[in-house]
């Protein structure tokens, strides 16, 4: 499994919980374009062998390979958020960034011929809309560190059999 080197927050999907309903794609395309169209979604659901289901969006890699691969210097990475930004006057839709992405998280808009990236709904107050609509809470907007911490907590809870403290001491 290829792992992202990101230290930033990004939208990640738990394949155990994802049911493949595509509601994330609807809300994403609507938020970005005003239309419902999976083709214009920046998060993509993937379904392989019927039961392997997940959704993929930009994982804000450190030293992002897409930025390095861009032959026209059209891409840059926000140092505060990790979000990949595109200069539409430079991008010519050559798709090198798509080749470079280890997660298949980039797509070319077939109308504008520009590369499109998840920008974590940075312009929407409530944050990523896909996370908000996901009916199974399969999507979350966290950093790898936050998820690692949760994994450690889960591990210790399931592997050590100490008496559980009552949830509500009253």
């Amino acid at each position: 499994m290829v792992a992202s080197t990101s230290k930033f927050k990004y939208v990640v999907c738990d394949p155990e919980l994802c049911i493949g309903c595509q509601l994330c794609e609807y809300i994403c395309s609507y938020t970005k374009t005003g239309e419902f169209n999976s083709y214009r979604s920046r998060i993509r659901t993937v379904r392989v062998d019927e039961v392997l289901i997940t959704a993929v969006a930009c994982r804000t890699c450190e030293n992002a390979p897409c930025v390095i691969a861009c032959t026209r210097d059209a891409l840059s990475q926000d140092q505060e958020t990790g979000i990949i930004r595109i200069d539409p006057t430079k991008c010519d839709g050559c798709a090198w960034c798509i080749e470079a992405c280890d997660f298949g998280a980039i797509s070319i808009n077939h109308l504008t011929k520009l590369a499109e990236f998840c920008n974590q709904c940075e312009d929407v107050e409530e944050g990523p809309q896909c996370v908000k609509i996901c009916p199974k809470d399969a999507l979350e907007y966290t950093t790898p560190d936050q998820r690692a911490q949760r994994t450690r907590h889960k591990l210790i809870k399931t592997s050590l059999e100490f008496p559980q403290k009552a949830k509500d001491p009253r």
Partner: protein
């Protein structure tokens, strides 16, 4: 027009040409989409009186009003042709990604005319139509075919509806599969094969715009949230398979080819058992926040590795109905059926029919010879390996499988001619379509609902089992209320089948599934999508019109009042065990209830439709042709 493109795509395989038909908004307001619009397209385009396998029988897709929007469970389409099993309307529903791709390609409907000489794969790429050779796809299973097509195009957004090997072999109840869902019943797969269509693929790149997206999103959010609560828990946790134990308790679980209604090993083929021993993951159709499909796998034993989605109707048809108490054999049979593209319900009832032919001595061991068992085998009730082998033989049309692949109505006729027997008395079909998983001897309203059903033995079109089971009617007797109950229940179901929306959402609008609970919300969804001004009454009419066009189609194809009947067994052979023991639906009871039903529909006492009724529903041209 919002929500629709106003365009129907016509494809003629004889000439390999296509054209566009534009429909006025008024037409959409009457036929909406799904089974209603698909049937209407079939009405407009069929050569009246043709055989189902004749090139004059069109394949009609009709998209859903909510497909491609975030409206929960609205990603469904209707598919209609004349059914090779029943000779009347074959209207089915399927859902998921395919229908959304079709919406984005901006087609409200697709009609395929004529027949091809060679096997083809039709690609609808927005407004471009291509006729691709299907040589490399032949022999592949349904799921494999889809994967192969997406691999060829390198695009996951190319979605395909396909037939499998059973379809290619023209098993009469072969079906059409897309995205793991099936337009399951009435034999669409064999109609496709008669035209040599292996697959129809769609790539749509346009966005879907609606009249009032903000309201639509708000409503969709609310319904999506409600769909995570108690109203759908049955579907999410165990799926519909949890019905097995309920049906067994109430004594209408089909057992041994509908001989009995209780099964000794029901626990072993229950949804609860499935959940504990076989469940891998629960998955959803595209656009669905519920997720009911219980993907189940056989982990050990001779059928290890079989995996497919299991639900009640399929499960009972291949397990209790065949006397089989082995879940691994049941999963294997459903897996064979799904991968080869067959209607599991008709397959299961055809297998149980063969088992009863063996049990009654009409067929002998040597009649069941095949490559796997050159000396034949003994398919007694409960023999799981026999069930699996028969499923394979039907798929391949090998030996006796070729007869069983014709469905129980034709199979019984062939066997009775050869053996001078009376197997037709236990051929469990209605109008040629095999019966669903509710033994109707102790569900009398439902028995009549099935008899008058426009597509034969189907629990999705008549929902009259619900009042019978819920105790709103006395299920063991008949009375003067039954006509209205059956008429209103099938019209209720037809609203969902026409939008189409999955019925599993029915309690999520307000908590109540009845008309008062659901219709106002559905009207709001329709209005936000289309900009129309539908109210409660308009929503109610959707179902009435849908059912009327289907009935009108059947009348024009030669329907007769005596076709509204139930199997001999339900009228003459009572069950011996369980709460349903001793009950049958007599000819007199059935005739009485049918009369009440025709009256409730406003039809003549023979079941024909008066001209004025059709005109009042806005179907003037239909009135002209079949109104009395």
């Amino acid at each position: 027009m919002y929500g629709y493109s106003g365009k129907i795509l016509h494809i003629d395989l004889n000439e390999r040409k296509h054209w566009v038909e534009e429909k006025p908004e008024e037409w959409y307001k009457i036929y909406i989409g799904g089974v209603s619009m698909a049937t209407r397209l079939c009405w407009e385009n069929i050569e009246v009186g043709c055989d189902a396998y004749d090139p004059g029988n069109p394949i009609c897709f009709a998209n859903g009003i909510f497909a491609g929007t975030p409206v929960p469970v609205g990603g469904k389409y209707g598919l209609a042709s004349k059914s090779p099993l029943t000779g009347v309307i074959g209207d089915s529903l399927s859902g998921s990604w395919f229908t959304i791709a079709l919406k984005r390609a901006q087609w409200d409907g697709v009609v395929i005319h004529g027949a091809s000489e060679n096997w083809i794969h039709i690609l609808i790429d927005d407004d471009r139509v291509e006729y691709l050779p299907a040589d490399k796809l032949l022999g592949l299973g349904t799921h494999e075919t889809e994967e192969k097509i997406r691999e060829i195009f390198g695009d996951d957004q190319v979605r395909s509806a396909t037939i499998g090997p059973a379809g290619e072999n023209m098993v009469r109840y072969a079906n059409v599969t897309n995205d793991g869902r099936q337009a399951g019943r009435t034999g669409h797969g064999s109609v496709w094969a008669s035209k040599k269509i292996k697959a129809v693929s769609v790539r749509g790149t346009h966005g879907v715009t609606v009249a009032d997206p903000d309201s639509l999103l708000k409503m969709s959010f609310d319904i999506t949230e409600a769909a995570q609560g108690p109203h759908t828990v049955k579907y999410r946790v165990y799926g519909t398979s949890t019905n097995v134990l309920n049906a067994n308790k109430h004594g209408f679980l089909p057992t041994n080819n509908f001989r009995e209604g209780t099964f000794d090993f029901a626990e072993l083929v229950s949804g609860e058992y499935l959940d504990e021993h076989h469940k891998v993951k629960v998955i959803a159709c595209a656009q669905c926040p519920i997720a009911c499909e219980q993907m189940s796998m056989v982990k050990t034993g001779p059928y290890a590795g079989s995996m497919t989605g299991i639900e009640y109707e399929c499960l009972q048809a291949v397990s209790s109905n065949c006397g089989i108490g082995d879940m691994t054999a049941a999963i294997r049979m459903v897996d064979i059926s799904d991968r080869s593209g067959m209607d599991t319900m008709s397959m299961g009832v055809s297998i149980s029919f063969a088992m009863e032919c063996f049990e009654t001595g009409v067929l002998k061991k040597e009649d069941f010879k095949c490559k796997k068992y050159p000396e034949g085998f003994e398919p007694y009730f409960g023999n799981g390996e026999a069930g699996v082998t028969l499923a394979e033989m039907i798929r391949d049309k090998e030996g006796i499988g070729a007869i069983l692949a014709e469905g129980t109505r034709i199979a019984a006729k062939l066997i009775d001619e050869e053996h001078n027997s009376e197997t037709w008395k236990f051929a469990m079909n209605i109008k040629g379509l095999e019966c669903p998983g509710y033994d109707a001897r102790s569900l009398k309203t439902f028995a009549m609902g099935l008899a008058v059903g426009t597509r034969g033995g189907c629990h999705n079109r008549s929902a009259a089992y619900d009042p019978d089971i819920q105790g709103e009617t006395n299920r063991f007797t008949v009375d003067e209320t039954r006509g209205v109950v059956a008429a209103r229940s099938e019209e209720y179901a037809a609203v969902y089948d026409t939008l189409p929306m999955c019925k599993f959402i029915r309690r999520c609008f307000t908590g109540k599934a009845d008309r008062a609970g659901a219709w106002p919300s559905i009207a709001n969804l329709i209005n936000a999508t289309t900009g129309w001004n539908f109210d409660y009454d308009e929503v109610d009419l959707i179902g009435v019109r849908a059912h009327t066009i289907k009935k009108a189609f059947n009348i024009r194809e030669g329907w007769k009042p005596e076709d509204d009947d139930i199997p001999y067994r339900w009228k003459h052979d009572p069950m011996t065990k369980g709460p349903g023991a001793g009950h049958v639906v007599t000819d007199e009871e059935l005739a009485y209830m049918k009369g009440l039903y025709y009256k409730a529909k406003g039809w003549t006492e023979d079941g024909y439709i008066p001209k004025q009724l059709l005109i009042d529903l806005g179907m003037d041209d239909v009135a002209e042709e079949i109104g009395v």
